[in-house]
């Protein structure tokens, strides 16, 4: 019996101890009319057969060189990261409710929180949220709690559309209004809103869905000038190079949130990733999710435990700062090991490499006849290319060349039909960039 240790003798002895004769009798409090008649499930497989079946499935996903980004990035993950994160003691532990028996996980989370605060320049980081998009929704709810009253949120139109949809779903449940902040169709970057209305906060993406860098200082100062909170949306790898939210404008952003996937998390078709959220210490009691603190035991030995649990659902129930319980623990473990393995220097080198590859590719691709760049401003490792043909068709044709060429903005209802969002990471070697150029050239000629 897969994963069930009992043999016949043991089962019999245990049934006898319970005082029943058959396993079925253990369910005698369940009204018989409710018992299951049939369940359409397949037969079980041996581990060997399962392996073969799933290996087949895995191989039927086309292996593609990845030039797609849009919030999920193909980075190199050092071998030790998952080697350690996958160790049973991390992999199969629960949330650290018994701190004495969970110092491993707790210290990892404390180190993670430290890394995130250093990357963001803010003082407090929680222990993770589900992903960047739902993290942003939590950040908005947090801002609304801080600001009080019945307010709205200013949401840039060049926020990743997938994230906007999550805001719509989650905030919509509480009838919170989202007010769009348009972007300049010529530059691609945000236009300072004329007025703040009843908004509690302004969301400020450091790099937008178009890959472009926003004027974060001016936006932050504008928000603060209108008594709004500034919610920074950041790529953690980019923060190795770009200005930390704590340094934005004259006072710094209030909350920073982002998608942690670039920090050692495999793409896996969209998840599990993790959302990170950092804020100033003043707002810690409105923070959603778990938080780990350093403390001491009776003998004065240092150790770690969960703290400020009164914010959370298991204590505060309906009045908690969030309903989140299980978060993305193992992803945080991997991300912590990833950051430690690369080190500050390695993170910077990786970010520089990603960006340099993008600069080179941009140059190569704009030399292809008919291809142009709709936006000229500064960007980080991702840029929009304007193709002379529908980007969707070009993307599909390039699959045949073994390339995932990017994201057609049309899929997002943004830009023009020819617009393709192209991304590079350190995984792409110069040969890959040239291969892209050649494949694009030939596809554009024949399409």
């Amino acid at each position: 019996m897969p994963y069930i240790p009992h043999d016949g003798l043991e089962t019999a002895a245990m049934l006898a101890a319970v005082g029943v004769e058959r396993l079925d009798q253990l369910f005698d409090e369940i009204p018989p009319t409710l018992l299951v008649h049939d369940m359409v499930l397949p037969e079980g497989l041996s581990e060997m057969a399962l392996h073969r079946e799933l290996e087949g499935r895995a191989m039927s996903n086309a292996p593609l060189r990845c030039f797609a980004g849009g919030g999920a990035y193909a980075h190199h993950i050092p071998a030790i990261v998952w080697e350690i994160a996958g160790r049973g003691e991390f992999y199969s532990a629960y949330t650290p409710y018994q701190p004495e028996a969970s110092q491993g996980t707790l210290q990892v989370v404390y180190e993670y929180q430290s890394f995130i605060t250093r990357l963001t320049g803010l003082e407090v980081s929680n222990a993770s949220l589900y992903d960047g998009a739902s993290g942003l929704a939590e950040a908005c709810l947090m801002a609304l709690r801080i600001q009080g009253g019945d307010k709205s949120i200013l949401v840039p139109e060049n926020l990743l559309p997938g994230w906007r949809r999550v805001l719509d779903s989650v905030l919509g449940l509480q009838n919170i209004r989202l007010v769009s902040v348009p972007y300049d169709r010529a530059t691609g970057t945000l236009i300072l809103p004329a007025e703040a209305g009843d908004a509690a906060a302004l969301i400020i993406p450091q790099s937008s869905a178009l890959g472009l860098l926003e004027p974060v200082d001016a936006l932050t100062d504008w928000a603060h000038g209108h008594d709004l909170l500034a919610i920074a949306v950041v790529n953690p790898l980019a923060l190795a190079l770009l200005k930390a939210p704590g340094d934005w404008g004259t006072q710094g952003a209030d909350i920073a949130v982002g998608e942690g996937q670039p920090l050692g998390i495999p793409l896996t078709g969209g998840g599990p990733y993790f959302g990170f959220l950092a804020c100033r210490k003043a707002h810690v009691r409105q923070l959603p999710g778990r938080l780990v603190a350093k403390t001491v035991d009776g003998q004065g030995r240092e150790g770690f435990c969960l703290t400020l649990q009164a914010r959370e659902q298991h204590i505060r129930r309906g009045k908690a700062t969030s309903n989140i319980c299980t978060n993305q623990g193992l992803m945080v473990t991997a991300a912590t090991i990833h950051m430690a393995t690369l080190g500050g220097r390695g993170l910077q080198q990786t970010a520089v490499l990603c960006h340099e590859r993008a600069a080179l590719l941009r140059e190569l691709l704009t030399a292809v006849p008919g291809v142009s760049l709709p936006y000229g401003g500064p960007f980080f490792h991702e840029f929009v290319l304007r193709l002379p043909q529908a980007a969707v068709a070009v993307r599909d044709a390039l699959l045949g060349h073994g390339l995932l060429a990017g994201l057609p903005l049309a899929d997002w209802g943004m830009g023009e039909a020819g617009d393709l969002l192209v991304c590079t990471t350190e995984l792409l070697e110069e040969a890959d960039l040239l291969a892209y150029r050649d494949a694009l050239t030939s596809v554009l000629e024949t399409l």
Binding site: H6, E10, L26, Y94, E100, A293, R345
Partner: protein
Amino acid sequence: MSASIFDHDHHFPGVELPSDIPAELLRKTPLNLPNPAELEVLRHYTRLSQQNFSIDTQFYPLGSCTMKYNPRIAHTMASLPGFARLHPDTPAPAMQGLLQVLWELQEWLAAATGMAAVSLTPAAGAQGELAGVAMIRAYHAARGDHGRRKMLIPTAAHGTNPASAQMAGFAVVEIPNLADGDLDMAFLDQHLGPDVAGIMLTNPSTLGVFERRIADIAARVHGAGGLLYYDGANLNAILGRVQPGQMGFDVMHLNLHKTFATPHGGGGPGAGAVAVQERLRPFLPLPTVGREGGGALRWVTEQELPRSIGRFSAHGGNIGVLLRAHAYLRRLGRVGVSRVSAYAALNANYLLKELQRVGYQAAFPERRASHEFILSVSDLQKATGIRALDVAKRLLDFGIHAPTIYFPQLVPECLLIEPTETESKATLDRFVAVMAQIRQEALEQPELLREAPHHLPVGRLDEALAARRLDVAAAQ
């Protein structure tokens, strides 16, 4: 406390930043992260790992958490490059292998729960709850039934239930349980009405007993125009025995990281798939996986499901977790799935009997245990001042993880014990022997318990100090 990763600092020259990015957009403060060598990283985190209790190393009877074996083959399969390297925006024709897995999982979960349709996207139980009650909200709204602002929830329910209801804009009304563990029907009747959107239950309840009048409850709630939400965290108890769909539930979530053996990872990631009856299908959260006539699979979007409650994460959910749940289900198959609840119940009932034999008090001595059960050590507290917390901490000294304590809150000094089906009789017998010894110790040398744990890297930690000092990040 082990050494900190911040001890491993190395001073290497900085990196040259790209010149095409204007200086005012670049970092102002230098990036102050450590630069340890690879061996230092490996050693640091390997040692940290050894300071955890885990399923792979300890018995972990943490009630309501279903800490059962997480088969390693599932991890191996989910890590295959063909899955792990797949960008979420890969066009569907180039990810048929993954879509096939997800599609099957949708079908199998629907079959296992007796529901009509499934969406796999919620990232954990709580997000599943949110999506679930959001569907209830959307359902009533779609019928123009706008006055239903209240959600009924048993007092004993998990904290996420009221928190999720509140996040979905509902007002929570708590319903008490009776002394036998079943719901207070009179109270229920009193509160049912045109302002009630529904009720959130788990069955067996968090009291570790099966709610016997569930069909009756369903009839009354439905009769009052409300819907029934099933918190699937306790599905391990009934898998293959009773189906939420047959019990009358309209919508539910499943904790794949409990019943379907995906790992807890020290706090996640989980996966909280939602399953619904036919009438709620139009409201499912997106994306789901759909199948075309020719068999080709694709993501279902808003175009196709315009009344969907929307999206809760940027992509398709915690797919790596779903892959693991799929592998587990495929390995077990129909017969294996039915065995889960049988042996989970056997282990729980056996353990309850044995612990009663060595002197512990059951909270519901007249009831069958489900997959878990509650003890109360109020008797010990009265006799010696020893609390559930002390028993829990002392267990750690024996290399056994503590049960859940002080939940559900309505049973004083309670231990919620869930052995799961993957533990052997030998392990359970050892647990009973240790619990017997601890009971003896409580009576004879209570300070041994009060000062426990003695054999772990740290003793009881000062949680008040932690909250006061709030040292939540290493000083720079």
